[in-house]
């Protein structure tokens, strides 16, 4: 994950609010192509941006992969189809 040694990144972000908003939009897929270049630059040069990005990414990943899924009750689909038949 550490493509660049952290010593090469600046310790303070010059505009944290703007940067973080941008990073979050990129993670949510809201910025497509233009996002990739900006992202590369931020992650290479700014430590707070680097850390924020990886934390936000980890949170999205665990939400997507680890949240409990509930199995649909088997009779539900049949029950719906039956009710649709009745109103047809």
């Amino acid at each position: 994950m550490n493509d660049y040694p952290s010593g090469e990144r600046k310790k303070q972000c010059s505009d944290e609010s703007k940067c973080f908003e941008l990073l979050e939009s990129i993670l949510d897929g809201d910025l497509k192509d233009s996002g990739k270049e900006i992202l590369k630059e931020k992650l290479a040069k700014c430590q707070p941006c680097f850390e924020h990005y990886h934390l936000e990414q980890a949170i999205r990943d665990v939400l997507k992969t680890k949240c409990t899924k509930h199995a649909v009750p088997t009779e539900l689909a049949d029950c719906i189809r039956q009710k649709i038949q009745d109103i047809k």
Partner: protein, 198 residues
């Protein structure tokens, strides 16, 4: 998503849309209903209600558009208009209260926690689920739609009937609240959140 009545579908077309485009989403719909109500029977009622409405108003569904988003919008409206009304259980945070309290779309993005990506990755599914479930329903909803169901900001705006700017800011606040919860778990579990000792 427009309510404009299009040409009427034939019976075969209706069946094809219902089976081919609506029913495949029953799994996501049920999970959405369950995460809103925390109750199996209420979730079943919401899903059934949604599918009956979807069938009744099938002519206002434009084929080739996003059926999942269309169905989610119906379910969310049923939840607000019917379930919340009849439910005796008061919601932890009142919808209006959240809306007025967090009225502004203008959010200052900043680093709010010393939570580390590594601790988050080590967390258990139950911890993640509990943290999500503890959020007020409006915050929970945006995270479900975005992170669990993969909707775009634009689709979420349509499902929730709010501007995209509000989607973005509500999502940001929701994740910050979630981070606070997770940070609490991280401390309890003795995960390394920061070098400082309390």
């Amino acid at each position: 998503m427009s309510e404009v009545q299009r040409r009427k579908y034939s019976q075969e077309e209706k069946n094809a849309i219902f089976d081919g485009e609506f029913m495949p989403h029953i799994d996501s719909m049920y999970n959405f209903g369950y995460r809103l109500t925390f109750d199996e029977d209420d979730a079943k009622d919401l899903v059934q209600d949604t599918y009956l409405k979807a069938y009744r108003f099938i002519n206002s569904f434009e084929q080739g558009t996003n059926a999942k988003a269309w169905l989610f919008r119906i379910l969310k409206n049923s939840f607000i208009n019917e379930y919340r009304k009849k439910s005796k259980q008061p919601t932890k945070v009142d919808y209006q209260e959240v809306e007025t309290y967090y009225n502004s779309d203008d959010v200052h993005y900043q680093s709010t926690s010393d939570l580390r990506a590594e601790s988050v990755k080590d967390m258990l599914g139950d911890e993640i689920s509990n943290a999500l479930n503890s959020l007020a329903v409006d915050f929970r909803t945006v995270i479900i739609l975005c992170d669990l169901e993969g909707f775009t900001y634009e689709e979420m705006a349509k499902i929730l009937d709010i501007p995209i700017g509000t989607v973005r800011s509500r999502l940001h606040r929701a994740r910050n609240l979630l981070k606070e919860k997770l940070q609490g778990y991280a401390h309890n579990m003795g995960y390394n959140t920061d070098e400082e000792e309390e």
